[in-house]
């Protein structure tokens, strides 16, 4: 069973359907006990960092994420959910994150070369930077769907893949049982479903 954490941020319908499409049972839940009983946990999210972090904490889901991570359950952050795993974000001010991964989230505005659209919206290629379990089924150069204006930097040894958008941006991270995708695997066609399959094959 995969627990998809529901803390009032974003649309979880597609994610649940994509897991069903690969034969994985999932539950959308904001209940800490359900999360702790699940074999693996997904932290989704869209919108603004500070607002999402506040909602996560208000729902008590920060503690559930820590407990799942401590218990060694495979944990996957998607998009803003991935960004929340880092130490801090500079989206509209400076905000603390969950700190499960080393690094911080910074804006494309001002760091990207001129002439590139912000947000990055569309399909871009993955470049693997290390062997990882989350990208075990994914070919070098495979395209996935990105929608974001902020990105994680300084990820140290968790960095698993980058994508080139003016700069080499963090696309996927993995450190032990904690992993994340800046892109949307649930919107990345067959490549994305393979990434979700790899996650569902991860053992804690």
């Amino acid at each position: 069973m995969v627990a998809i954490i529901d803390y009032g941020v974003g649309n979880l319908f597609s994610l649940k359907c994509s897991l069903a499409a690969i034969g994985a049972e999932s539950v959308v839940t904001g209940d800490a006990d359900t999360i702790l009983r699940a074999e693996r946990v997904i932290l989704p999210g869209v919108g603004a960092f500070a607002d999402a972090y506040a909602k996560l904490c208000a729902a008590g889901m920060d503690k559930a994420v820590y407990a799942a991570a401590d218990a060694g359950k495979p944990l996957l952050g998607i998009c803003l959910g991935m960004q929340l795993l880092f130490e801090r974000s500079f989206e509209y001010g400076e905000h603390r994150g969950l700190g499960l991964l080393k690094g911080e989230v910074i804006g494309m505005e001002g760091t990207l070369p001129a002439g590139l659209d912000i947000p990055q919206i569309g399909w871009n290629a993955l470049h693997k930077t290390k062997e990882s379990r989350i990208l075990a089924n994914t070919a070098e150069g495979a395209h996935v769907y990105f929608v974001h204006s902020y990105y994680a930097a300084g990820c140290a040894d968790s960095l698993a893949a980058t994508t080139e958008y003016g700069l080499e941006l963090t696309a996927a991270v993995e450190k032990e049982n904690v992993c994340g995708c800046q892109f949307h695997p649930e919107k990345s066609g067959k490549v994305g479903l393979d990434i979700l399959r790899a996650f569902c094959a991860m053992e804690g």
């Binding site: 319908f13 597609s14 359907c17 069903a20 659209d117 569309g122 290629a125 769907y145 649930e186 066609g189």
Partner: protein, 252 residues
């Protein structure tokens, strides 16, 4: 590098695709779900569902279709048509839409884009604009291109983007349906004014038109079309090979 996107647009009325679509191997040619699956298998980077249902009581059919499509198709889905309120955003997002396209709704209620962007994020809000040249300027038209709003298009687009529109679909009424190519001049003008992705719509008649589009206006991030895809005049896999052959980065 990010790829240029190719986006088929499906007009849906009362839960069925309008205009006959003719593909071999597609049994129900008017089923939005079957067509969405077909396009997803055949290289579409994204799908737009445009709801042209006139009556509110038939609108539920559209959300049923959307929900079913989203449960089977795992590429981005944009929904447009009849989006006038935040409740409309909510209705389609809950059924699996990733982005919501606003056109006349934003003209009637200029605060809609800002409110939607605040609630759902900029990435979710697409501004769609029907533009026609009038008296030497680009003019915004409402109600499917029927009404001249009198507003100058470039400043309207700029205003909507600063309010939170994360993407702009530029539909040129001047080139729409003519199949003589995209409106390169209009697209260039829009791209030079905003920094969000711009989607070109209106005028595609051949594969060469897409090559010209991405070569002439490199800032354009996607090409959207309807009938040339539906009638099989341009097959998306072939189009993408043609683009790649011309050095344009696409997802093959």
């Amino acid at each position: 590098m990010i790829t240029k996107r190719i986006i088929p647009c499906l007009d849906v009325r009362d839960g069925r695709v309008v205009k006959g679509v003719n593909f071999e191997g597609l049994r129900d040619v008017n089923s939005p779900v079957a067509l969405a699956e077909y396009y997803t298998e055949n290289g579409a980077d994204e799908l737009v569902f445009y709801d042209i249902t006139a009556s509110a009581e038939h609108r539920a059919l559209f959300t049923d279709i959307l929900r079913e499509t989203a449960s089977k198709v795992f590429i981005p889905l944009t929904v447009g048509g009849g989006i006038n309120t935040l409740d409309d955003f909510d209705r389609v997002l809950k059924c699996g839409a990733d982005k919501v396209s606003v056109n006349s709704g934003a003209i009637k209620n200029p605060s809609l884009i800002g409110e939607a962007a605040k609630r759902y994020g900029d990435q979710c809000v697409v501004l769609s604009v029907d533009i026609k040249r009038v008296d030497g300027e680009f003019r915004v038209f409402a109600r499917g291109g029927r009404d001249d709003t009198g507003m100058e298009a470039l400043s309207w687009i700029e205003r909507c983007v600063s309010a939170g529109a994360g993407e702009v679909v530029v539909n040129s009424i001047d080139t729409d349906g003519v199949k003589g190519g995209f409106d390169l001049e209009m697209l260039e003008a829009v791209c030079s004014r905003v920094r969000v992705p711009v989607v070109a719509s209106g005028g595609a008649g051949s594969m060469a038109d897409f090559v010209t589009l991405f070569e002439s206006v490199p800032r354009v991030s996607a090409g959207l079309a309807a009938s040339i895809f539906h009638f099989g005049e341009v097959a998306i896999p072939e189009l993408k090979r043609e683009l790649a052959g011309n050095g344009i980065n696409v997802r093959l």
